[in-house]
């Protein structure tokens, strides 16, 4: 039982990390960045490339090396996110939602099959593994890597949260989320803020990708698809556009899946997640924390 909760918590923290990117972008430009999950995949592969280029790393240094690579990949995926926004999304700002969504699907395809063209379609084994001691907490086996990863995730989320709450950019983001045009009039450089948003969101996803690679040990060019959808589900559960909601949603989805698979069997896991998504969207589209949006007319 405690094992169940712990596993849910662990997986949930991954979802949360990716969900944040979804939520931020959506909250600010109402764009459902379909390709976000593939940024996670991209992060994993960038990490893979960096680590392999480093060559053999003694186990003692592996964590340090990993952290370095983590930061580097965050920078790179962040930049990738910015480039994507520039090339694919910005030209369509103000275009009908349909067009933007289709573009996002296109970007997702380009990323997936671009990576498979470069790195090959076969799954790769991650060069560096997080191995570490295991101890027992209330009957749940908790491994050191898990704790490390969750600490990193938590750290990133807290940092982001305070960034959004305290800094001027954060305020700008929130104001744009509320009313883009007004913010423009208030002299906020909307484009700059959006760029920054994409950078942060993509960086977080990239981080999640590297962490997943290091923990699970296998990466492939389609790994981002399902988890991207799950992350979106998490964002919706928590209340899309709501940062705290994204974190909460991630954890909730983690639990839901853990319990669901326990009761219905692993082959139904995705059905479970999607069912939750559909239920929330139809019954409570504003999610758990999302406040009622006043209907536009």
């Amino acid at each position: 039982m405690t094992q169940l909760i712990w596993d849910g918590l662990f997986v949930g923290s991954f979802y949360a990390l990716i969900a944040l990117g979804y939520s931020m972008v959506y909250g600010i430009i109402k764009l459902l960045n379909f390709a976000h999950g593939d940024i996670y995949m991209l992060g994993a592969f960038i990490g893979f490339a960096l680590l392999t280029s480093m060559g053999g790393i003694p186990a003692s240094l592996s964590l340090g090396a990993l952290l370095l690579v983590l930061l580097a990949s965050m920078l790179l995926t962040g930049t990738a996110g910015v480039i994507i926004e520039r090339l694919a999304y910005r030209p369509l700002r103000g275009a009908p939602r349909l067009a933007v969504l289709i573009t996002a699907v296109g970007v997702s395809f380009s990323l997936e099959y671009g990576v498979s063209a470069v790195a090959g379609p076969n799954p790769r084994a991650f060069p560096v593994r997080l191995e570490g001691g295991v101890f027992d907490v209330l009957g749940a086996r908790v491994s050191l890597p898990q704790i490390v990863l969750m600490l990193i995730a938590a750290g990133l989320m807290i940092a982001l949260n305070s960034y959004i709450q305290k800094t001027s950019t954060g305020r700008a983001m929130r104001s744009i989320a509320l009313d883009t045009n007004a913010s423009l009039l208030m002299g906020i450089n909307v484009n700059a803020v959006i760029t920054r948003t994409f950078f942060i969101g993509s960086a977080l996803a990239g981080a999640a990708g590297v962490m997943a690679g290091a923990y699970y040990g296998k990466i492939d060019f389609l790994m981002g698809f399902i988890i991207g959808l799950k992350a979106f589900t998490a964002a919706v559960i928590g209340g899309i556009g709501n940062i705290k909601g994204a974190m909460l949603g991630g954890l909730v989805l983690g639990f839901v899946e853990a319990f669901g698979t326990e009761w219905f069997g692993g082959q139904w896991r995705d059905v479970f997640a999607f069912a939750v998504l559909i239920l929330f969207l139809t019954l409570r589209p504003t999610g758990i924390l999302g406040e009622r949006v006043t209907e536009r007319m």
Binding site: G94, G106, D270, I278
Partner: protein, 347 residues
């Protein structure tokens, strides 16, 4: 910001059809020419392979024309369209296999099931905003596939195989590749014609009004919800019938044929061809389905190409390569409107 304001700012410009070529393409006969070409093709090449490829392409055209109703006419992004085909194919396959019926007799059941599917997916979700709708349909698509993969009645992962043919009358078997190809082409032609006609009717206009501006449409007394649901149901029917042909063509139905990739391919056909313009969509479908066969060596990279193409088209030519013609004949000769357009644009 509001969707409607957006759509009016959409970076689109539909130029007048001045060139002779484009006029030709708008000509009424074009459909017949295409059909003629399709009917004559087997006289050029009739190897099992070419027939198989052409049949597959024809079925793909049917799917595209169905999705065009949903995405092109009504502006609802459906990322799980292939699910309707799955429902059709499985219903047909299961019934015909278990009762050893020719597939053709399963069509009524297929219609019922697909309409049901359309209602089940549409009813709760069509009130959602377009982007939510997209994800939800994707979810439904995946759920359908996974369910088919897990249930025993659908044959689990290996699916259903050895499905009886479409129809056999005495010694005449519709299942012969050539015959099946002709049947498919004719059926598809009818469906394409039907959806094109729907597009030019009161209902079709209502779909476009909803796509362009839901509030204005409501204000004119159009029940946007009902209209959307209708679009969904028609799309579902088209997909379901595609499923029957699919089952007849492969004589086997397995879950791998209904992955998200397939939905995405159909969507690409519609978008690249030109949302809302049946002719463009048909061309798009043919390109998407035939190109990989023609250059199999590039098959591995084709998804990358398609993905990039989607982005490029959306950024530089959102209405697709062959957009719906934004013009109709005025009361006078249609020379008048072009002159006026010139004026209109010079403003």
């Amino acid at each position: 910001m509001s969707e409607n304001v957006d759509s009016t700012q959409a970076p689109r410009k539909i130029g007048p059809p001045l060139s002779r070529i484009s006029r030709l393409f708008e000509s009424k006969q074009l459909g017949w020419v295409a059909l003629g070409g399709a009917l004559l093709a087997p006289f050029v090449t009739a190897t099992p392979y070419s027939l198989n490829v052409m049949t597959t392409a024809a079925i793909f055209v049917l799917l595209a024309s169905g999705l065009n109703i949903v995405v092109g006419y009504c502006g609802l992004l459906d990322l799980g369209y292939i699910a309707f085909m799955a429902v059709g194919a499985y219903t047909a396959g299961i019934l015909s296999k278990s009762f050893d019926l020719p597939l053709i007799f399963t069509i009524p059941a297929v219609l019922v099931m697909t309409i049901l599917a359309g209602l089940i997916i549409g009813a709760p979700t069509l009130r959602l905003r377009s982007d939510y709708l997209a994800i939800v349909t994707l979810g439904f698509g995946e759920i359908t596939r996974i369910t088919a993969n897990n249930l025993t009645i659908t044959g689990g992962p290996s699916g259903i195989f050895g499905i009886p043919g479409l129809l056999t009358i005495g010694r005449f078997d519709v299942q012969q590749p050539a015959v099946l190809y002709y049947v498919t082409v004719l059926v598809v032609a009818l469906f394409v014609l039907a959806s094109a006609r729907l597009g030019k009717s009161r209902l079709g206009r209502a779909w476009r009004f909803v796509r362009e501006d839901e509030d204005a449409a409501e204000a004119m007394g159009i029940h946007t919800y009902k209209v959307k649901l209708l679009a969904y149901i028609f799309g579902a029917i088209w997909g379901g019938c595609g499923g029957v042909l699919f089952a007849a063509h492969l004589s086997a139905v397995s879950p791998q044929s209904f992955i998200f990739l397939q939905s995405a391919l159909v969507l690409m056909a519609v978008v690249l061809g030109g949302m809302g313009n049946m002719r463009g969509v048909v061309i798009g479908a043919l390109v998407i389905s035939l190109l990989p066969e023609l250059l199999r060596d590039l098959a591995a990279q084709r998804y990358l190409a398609f993905g990039l193409l989607l982005v490029i088209v959306m950024v530089f030519r959102p209405q697709g390569f062959w957009p719906a013609r934004g013009y109709e004949r005025d009361r006078g000769s249609d020379g008048a409107d072009e002159a006026a357009v010139a004026r209109g644009e010079s403003r």
